[in-house]
Each structure stands twice: as C-alpha cells, then as structure tokens.
C-alpha cells in the first residue's frame, strides 16, 4: 500500500441529506468489506439520518482499505466513514 496521504476519505458529509438539521446519524449497512475494489460512484455504505436512509457512494475507484465506522456505529456529519486507496 502506498503512503496514507494518497487515500481518499469517504466522508459522511458527502451523503448527508439536505434540509436536515440533525448532526448525528448511524451506519446501517456496509456493502463492501476492507480489501475490496470499489468503483467510483458505487453505493458502498448506507447511513440513516433522522429516519432517512441514504446511500454513500464511493468517491473514487480503488481499494477500500479501511472502514472507520462499523455498522450500528453512531456518526456525525463531519466523520470519515472509510478510506479508499485510489487506482
């Protein structure tokens, strides 16, 4: 694996529903495990914010190298959910 500086963060804020004031949510589902190759735009995770479930797309193609927030973990808008090592 190359230097961690190259990793792309999967940010909760990218998927956070608009018009929602709630600053906390929860990770509902991961659709990929660490070590898997993901495609840019593919739904890799589902989060729930104020009863609304939204998919979190991969921000880049590459290997999902680290999941930072597991299923059922509570999250905040500014949290990083995972890192991708881009192609």
């Amino acid at each position: 694996m190359s230097g961690t500086d190259d990793r792309v963060a999967v940010a909760a804020s990218d998927a956070w529903p608009e018009d929602v004031e709630e600053e906390e949510g929860v990770v509902v589902n991961w659709f990929a495990r660490e070590g898997r190759r993901v495609e840019d735009g593919e739904a890799i995770c589902e989060i729930q914010v104020e009863k609304v479930s939204v998919d979190v797309p991969a921000p880049a193609s590459g290997e999902l190298v680290a999941i930072e927030r597991d299923e059922d973990d509570e999250i905040a808008r500014e949290d990083v959910l995972a890192y991708i090592d881009p192609d």
């Binding site: 929860v26 509902v28 589902n29 659709f31 990929a32 898997r36 589902e46």
Partner: protein, 343 residues
Amino acid sequence: MAQEERRQVIDRELTMSRAMVEAIAHEMRADDEVFYMGEDVADYGGIFDSTEGLLEEFGRDRVMDVPISETAYLGAAVGAAQEGMRPVAELMFVDFFGVAMDQIYNQMAKNTYMSGGAVNVPMVLTAAVGGTYNDAAQHSQTLYGTFAHLPGMKVVVPSTAYDAKGLMHNAIQDDDPVVYLFHKRLMGIGWMPAPDGPKTPVPEEEYTIPFGSADVKREGDDATVVTLGLHVHRALEAADALAEDGIDAEVIDLRTLVPLDTETIRESVAKTGRLVVVDEDYRSYGVTGEVIASVAEDGLADLEAVERVAVPDVPLPYARPMENEVVPDSDDIESAVRSAYDA
C-alpha cells in the same frame, strides 16, 4: 447446487431487500410484461424497502401504487396474469391477506386446475411477514403454513440476500402463481436492524435457485434442524452454542415450502437420527407437523427423536415479554436440540 454457486468469488454484499429489488428490476428490463403493483410501492419504495428505486427507473405505469383495495388489485393481478402478463403484486403485510382471501385461494390458486390447465396464472404475490418488533396480532404473523396448505400456490421463503435474488428470478419466470414471503427483520432496513447473516455476497448477473431445493446452511452429524426465514439465523446461532458442547447440528433452510424438498431432509435425518423443526408460524396444522409427517411416512425407522419449536396456538401478543415468550428464539432451539440429543 447452492454450495457450488457459493464457491464463486463474489465480494459485493447486499441486503436482502436490495437483492430482491435487483432481481425484480432485471426481470422488468428483460420483459415489458412484468410490472409491480401494491400499496406504497412507488414513491415510498415499499414500507419494507421491497421496491426501493424501481419507480425512478420504470415509472408509474410499471410500478403502480394502488388504492387500499386488496381484493381488486390482487384479483386484477390474477386477471392480467391470465392474459399472459407477469404481474408482481404486493401485500404490505401478509396479515392483510384475509381482506382478499377469495382472490388468492379461490381464483389465483385454483384457476389453473379448474380450467384443466387451459389457463395459467404466472404472477408473484409478495408479502412481508414476521414479528419480533411488537406489532401485535394483526401485523406480526408469518402464515407460512396457510399458503402452503391451500393447493395451487408455490411458496417461497428466503433467508439470505443470495437466496432472495435467485428465488425472485425463479418466481417471476415461473408459469404458476408464486407466493414470495419476505421476513421484515431480514430485509436490512435502517429502522429494523437485521441479525448477522441475511446480508451476503450477491452476484450482479442473473441466476435462479430452483424451487424445491433446500439448502444445508450448516452441516452436522448429531441433529437435523429444519427451518426457514428468520429462524434459519436463530438456528445457526443455536448451532454455534451447541457446538461448544460438542453437539453438531445440521441446519437445513427449506427456502420453499411448495415444493418441499423432503429428500434433503430425509437424507439428513438418516444421518443424524434426530429431527428438530423450527417455525415462526402457529404450531398446530402447520409447517412443523408437515415436515415431521413427511419424514415419518418414509423414514420412520431413522427417527430416534423429534422436537418441534413453533408459536404456540395464540395470536401474537403486543407486550415484549409476551411476544418473546411465544416467538421461538435461539435458546428455545438450543434446548429442543439438546432434548432430542438426550432422548
């Protein structure tokens, strides 16, 4: 067969609801005659996410919200199917089948037979089943045995995303009416967290799982646990606990009730000698009795011990201590296996 399929390297995981939707969308793309109708299936995407995203791709003509008129729209599905279309019609909760029972059991299930095979009814009736979230007597039943008892319907009960997708492809392609019962607790919905297990790797391409092929979800030599739906996962949990005490349980997921794969069950019982049948439906006149009878008829000599674990014959109560009392959990399964093992 299933084991062979699982050997493929697939690393994308899906929830059961997404796997079902993927199969439905695939069939809708492949055949313009396939359409979906039900209450809150369009804009809402199904109360239990059973149609999430379909409206956006297929529009209102093919993903139809219908009035709260189950008799009319389930009957309309029967009529459209007899015209050769392939409707998928959803009952939001299986408990609502009573509202439209005539269309289901006197029309959908019997028209093929009554016509001497001159007409057929290639439709799928989907419905959410199951308890565990305290929705009480009118919204928590599974009714597996009811549909399986009445002749003329194929009855499907998936327990994992992988099975859900393959079985849905098969259901829509089948030329007979198929009742496809999905357990709410397994769908992977944000507000109703699923246990570990139903979310599995799912291939992106189409595949079918033939009806009547039970799946051995765990191999074991000491006892055969036959079950379906949510209770596959509860049985696997019980099997893990039993393994710590050296009791090796085999867990068979029926996957379809009609047709019933009695061969897989009998082979397993011939090996283990002990049969434990676990069901979330009512105890009497149901799945447990049927499975035991099907083994007893041809394999009585193999049977050293029999146990059944099911909902005692009471409606599903509301308060948590009472619902927990009547819906079998992994401890109930564990003790039934122990009891069979010690017999």
